[in-house]
């Protein structure tokens, strides 16, 4: 997956360069050989490839965020390389940057993260059918080590998050106008997952630093954010708080400290409850290994939530063939009305 993505980036980057760069004359000489040719892209690809093995060491687990080379740079390798290629694209790319890429991954002192998470789910798919009344997902995993349990480091903690699809939310606030309550101010919250659950082995604020939580978006307060609302309203925070509060009341946002069961620093498991009022989409499940308040490793799984059967049919018909849907609804109503009337007439005889 990651490799494909990089390829794509490179492939896209190369023609873009070829188009934009000809203008600066100075850049041209180095530029043309570097980017315009497909071989070069391929030449670069191996470079990425060398970066990859580390990412691929454990992929038996799954295809999500592969374990990362070193713990401070725990930010996904993907974005790392992405920005690299990006900067390459803007600055005059010289032959050097590519080789420079080379030593970087190699320079990683540890061959792989000393501890890696391998995760699984009791089910990857949740079907919303007519009788759907919520679901419980069993999230489990193990810690893979090449070396014995590090003794000098702090205790191991596990944080598991499940995040529903993010949809923009409009939050409206009521105010009393002329004696009645009217929606007045409103704010758009751009980033608010429709569902968010955190389960941990200990108090979230204590086992992770603020920065780590912010970096990995762990915890509702770090996940529900707003980008544009600041200009619209004076106190965007109160609108964000409202989203969190309302969704917590609906059991859409949950925080369950101490609910992850960790056995012998190796096996962990927890149960995540998905309520009945779910939105369709991919629910990203991340499992973090934490030591000394830092994320050591992360692995990802996806729960797919889909309407199914009749529910699916109704939903798609309503949205894709609204007229047909409306007529069908009417016919059903008319038939029911007629049938009831006839049935009663029959009964009276």
């Amino acid at each position: 997956m990651i490799r494909g993505l990089l390829f794509l980036l490179l492939a896209l980057g190369a023609p873009a360069l070829a188009q934009t760069d000809p203008a600066p004359v100075t850049a041209q000489p180095e530029d043309v050989p570097e980017t315009a040719q497909g071989e070069d892209a391929r030449q670069m690809a191996p470079v990425q490839d060398t970066a990859e093995p580390q990412a691929e060491v454990t992929p038996e687990s799954q295809d999500g965020d592969a374990p990362l080379p070193d713990e401070p740079a725990a930010a996904p390798a993907e974005t790392d390389t992405e920005t690299d290629t990006g900067s390459q694209g803007e600055a005059d790319p010289q032959p050097e940057p590519a080789p420079e890429d080379d030593p970087k991954p190699e320079a990683d002192p540890e061959p792989t993260a000393p501890e890696q998470a391998v995760g699984g789910l009791s089910q990857n798919r949740v079907s919303i059918t007519a009788g759907f009344d919520g679901s419980e997902i069993f999230v489990f995993g193990a810690v893979m080590r090449e070396a014995p349990v590090p003794t000098e480091a702090g205790p191991l903690d596990v944080v598991i998050t499940v995040e529903g699809p993010t949809l923009p939310v409009v939050v409206r606030r009521k105010e009393r106008v002329l004696g009645i309550w009217v929606n007045t101010e409103s704010a758009n919250i751009d980033e608010a997952p429709s569902f968010y659950a955190v389960a941990t082995t200990g108090p979230l604020d204590q086992i992770l630093t603020e920065t780590e939580r912010l970096r990995h978006r762990i915890g509702v307060d770090k996940t529900v954010r707003t980008i544009g609302a600041r200009a619209q309203v004076e106190d965007p925070q109160s609108f964000i708080d409202a989203v969190v509060r309302i969704r917590e009341n609906d059991a859409l946002y949950t925080r369950q400290d101490d609910t992850v069961d960790l056995r012998q620093d190796t096996l962990f498991s927890t149960e995540i409850v998905l309520p009945a009022n779910l939105v369709e989409g991919d629910y990203r499940t991340r499992m973090f290994l934490v030591r000394d308040r830092q994320v050591v490793n992360v692995t990802e799984q996806v729960i797919t939530v889909r309407k199914d059967g009749l529910e699916r049919l109704i939903y798609t018909t309503a949205h894709e063939r609204p007229l047909l849907y409306g007529i069908l609804s009417l016919l059903v109503a008319l038939f029911a009305g007629w049938a009831a009337s006839e049935a009663f007439r029959f009964l009276r005889r």
Binding site: G131, A276, L278, L323, S329, A336, G337, S341
Partner: protein
């Protein structure tokens, strides 16, 4: 038994919906009202998103009104000619109303407008009807008192384009009939109601129709207005929930049959005063909600489509 509603995207108890539909169906058959003015607030209350409640409601009204009107047809208490004229106005009003609804939805004032409409209209109509029917009942209790003269001539009877409505024993202008139809159409679309609770009093008091004919005729035209509203909502806002509608109308059609039979056994004044009391109770409850400080002053709307 919980059931997941595909458009509303919430899970609710199926029997609760059947029961609600049945209750409203009874009222519908008794009074010739669609029952939407009761059901829509009740649906809000059990957590159905307002937009879905309003649109789906219209579909349910089609079913219970047809069920009711068929019972009335058997008793020849439907004025078809009057119904069609009302309908002509109603369709125009309904198309307009759906536009207004879509616009209100965008600016986030649907709930307020719906509530305000309810309070204002229910208040006025309920109040007037209550006073009138109270007087009628008192008059009828007096020994020897004759029923109030029905055919009083008002401004309505002075307008041009007169038509004869045989079933209603009326010879009046088509203009007020069209206007009433249109006004009801607009409200039907915005409030998710058939408009019966406005239509019925208007026909009795403005047009001067006999109460027995009013109910059947009102139901007759509501079928079309509500049907049209359903189609408009299905195509423009996509908020008609088929599963919700089905559950409501299953209860509704049965209730309507029962209600029609109860209604036949009651006196016109009694029917009117009961309807008036019901309308006033709903009105009072909604007014209270507008004025009292809500528990949660924030509300969420997800996605751009809603």
């Amino acid at each position: 038994m919980q059931i997941y509603l595909p458009i509303a995207e919430v899970s609710v108890n199926a029997f609760l919906l059947l029961g609600l539909g049945g209750l409203v169906g009874i009222l519908s058959g008794m009074f010739g009202v669609g029952g939407g003015f009761l059901l829509t607030p009740l649906l809000f209350f059990i957590g159905i998103p307002p937009a879905v409640a309003v649109a789906t409601q219209a579909n349910q009204i089609v079913a219970s009104s047809l069920s009711g009107v068929m019972a009335h047809f058997q008793r020849r208490t439907v004025d078809l000619k009057m119904g069609f004229v009302l309908l002509a106005g109603g369709l125009v009003g309904s198309a307009l109303g759906v536009r207004v609804f879509t616009m209100l939805q965008k600016i986030g004032q649907v709930e307020l407008m719906v509530s305000l409409c309810y309070v204002v209209f229910l208040g006025i109509i309920g109040g007037l009807m209550f006073i009138e029917s109270w007087r009628a009942i008192r008059r009828s209790r007096k020994p020897g008192a004759r029923p109030a003269p029905r055919k009083h001539h008002s401004w309505v009877h002075g307008l041009p384009f007169k038509m004869r409505f045989r079933q209603s024993q009326l010879y009046i202008s088509a203009i007020p009939v069209l206007l009433i139809g249109a006004a009801v159409g607009v409200l039907a679309a915005i409030m998710g109601v058939g408009g019966g609770f406005i239509m019925v009093p208007a026909m009795i008091y403005i047009l001067g129709m006999p109460t027995k004919v009013v109910i059947g005729t009102s139901l007759f035209q509501i079928i079309f207005v509500a049907g049209f509203t359903t189609l408009m909502h299905a195509t423009s806002t996509q908020t008609v929930d088929a599963v919700l509608a089905l559950l409501l109308l299953l209860g509704g059609v049965i209730g309507a049959q029962v209600g029609t039979r109860i209604g036949m056994r009651m006196k016109a004044e009694q029917l009117r005063i009961l309807l008036a009391i019901m309308v006033l109770v709903v009105c009072f409850k909604l007014a209270l909600d507008l004025v009292l400080t809500p528990n949660e002053i924030y509300s969420l709307t997800t996605g751009a489509a809603h």
